[in-house]
Symmetry: C2
Subunit: 307 residues, 2 copies
């Protein structure tokens, strides 16, 4: 079953303590689509400018992503530039140029409108809402967001929350949105704002998943010693998770499947940070995902039989 | 099989945003002994002053802890006073009075010296070393420590590390000791300093366990919404873990048992923070520990069968 993804496509300049790279393929939708594509056909809705390199376009196309819904507009592609500090945990945005995003109005090709699984990757919540307005009757809608929208577009974000099944956000964003220090309280409070399911990402500490009827899952992070570029980890997580769920198609999206989906998303994110941009995904195959999934089980499971 | 525990016994004044309590039973050895006592007989080595209340003494005795090695010295009991901030995560030490601890020299009763399992709970590393010097040939030695000793007694701490099987410390201490930001790198670096096994506690994010041959386990935290007093959580964790291992006796201390031990310690710590001092432990029974252990399994486990 195909998944509809809307989000940003960007050209990124990324500086780490070790290396600096320019004009990388970036943006929430790029990462999410490639990750989802491991499990499901992807219909992408986004916008690029006249300067968007053919090599990036071709890369997405070769991954089997349907680019019919990607507008090519006059002007320049959205650009982001950031620098990671020595610990690779804190980053500073050096510059953002919205460019073609300033006037972007997502428009869904007709045959995209009936998608059952929708990932509203990180973009402004009013754009995410515009996508939902064009959909027929999606079965499962996942939204990702960021601190910027909590700060400057909270009313639209709160409208959005009433219309999604699942929200993904990171720990500091969950605290900011709810004014709760305890992530447990924060997760539950976000559920009361609309989404039945909430995933709170904690970076090196993994992810907390809140389900219905107090279902709860704590997913560890994969123990990576060397992170080359954390950019897009969250988008990759969201994409992998959604692609896995869409692949299950008409099966119920129960908590057991959601747990598996969170681990799949974490596996994909753990690969993606091993190289700049989406470069690591050129060599990661589905069998690699299955093998790291098994490692995740090893590092998270324990037995009661010795008690 | 009995476990030998050395550490501090204290009288604590604790202030939280909600309540303030005085003259509470505290100290690393008090928490650790009560926790270990759920699984093994405990031989305690510590010191108290003339002012140590009979009610606290009786409480420890009623838990079946052997107090033969607890010196009653002239002067006052070690005192600690601390305040937890609104988020219950950060705390400020308001005052410390070493009192009888200033001249404390641990002395093991003869029949304590043959203990196979030893927990050197958090006290100065030179005192921890003095205990090891008096032991015959322990099978498994676990040491806990804190930032203070990393800062003011690092040479003694490094000596100690060469003589223990396992070190327990928290994330910021692991980073401070190794100057590594990545907890994965930090854990491995500490192993290279001596201990075959390292447990890095991460508070609300659970605990990382590093074993031999790159064995690795990520233990989640129990999702507590209301923490009443975090004091002693780490000591309770260490005690529960050691008591469980000692209870297994002459079985090998393999990684599977260590994983179980970490979960047992986490369960005990999660109970202990639900009330001030050791009050919660008055009502927690072994069956409660088993039931929360099962909850830990639920919240950490996931299946590959849906992949």
């Amino acid at each position: 079953m195909s998944v509809l993804i809307v989000g940003s496509i960007a050209l990124d300049d990324v500086k780490t303590p070790v290396e600096e790279r320019f004009d990388l393929l970036g943006g929430s939708a790029s990462y999410a689509s490639v990750a989802a594509g491991y499990f499901s056909p992807v219909n992408l809705v986004a916008i690029v400018g006249e300067d968007f390199p053919a090599s990036h376009w071709n890369f997405l196309q070769e991954r089997g992503i349907n680019l019919e819904g990607v507008q090519r507009a006059e002007g320049k592609t959205f650009r982001w530039s950031g620098e990671y500090m020595w610990d690779m945990n804190t980053r500073e945005t050096r510059s953002v140029a919205l460019n073609v995003f300033e006037t972007f109005a997502p428009k869904l090709p007709d045959h995209f409108k009936s998608s059952d699984f929708v990932l509203l990757a990180n973009i402004a919540p009013d754009l995410q809402l515009q996508v939902l307005d064009q959909m027929d009757k999606p079965k499962f809608v996942i939204a990702d967001t960021m601190d910027l929208w909590i700060n400057i577009a909270q009313p639209a974000l709160l409208d959005l929350l009433k219309r999604v099944d699942m929200l993904i956000l990171n720990d500091s964003e969950a605290r900011e949105l709810t004014k709760e220090t305890s992530l447990i309280k924060a997760g539950k409070k976000i559920q009361s704002l609309g989404p039945r399911i909430v995933a709170v990402k904690k970076g090196e500490h993994g992810c907390l998943l809140f389900g219905e009827n107090d279902d709860f899952f704590s997913c560890p992070a994969y123990p990576l010693e060397d992170i080359h570029d954390p950019t897009g980890a969250g988008d990759t997580f969201a994409g992998g998770l959604t692609g896995y769920l869409a692949n299950r198609g008409n099966h119920d999206v129960g908590f057991k499947a959601l747990k598996t989906a969170v681990v799949v998303g974490s596996v994909l994110a753990s690969y993606n940070v091993e190289a700049f941009s989406l470069e690591r995904m050129r060599s990661v195959e589905q069998k690699d995902i299955l093998s790291r999934f098994a490692e995740f089980q090893d590092l998270a499971h324990f037995d009661a039989d010795l008690l």
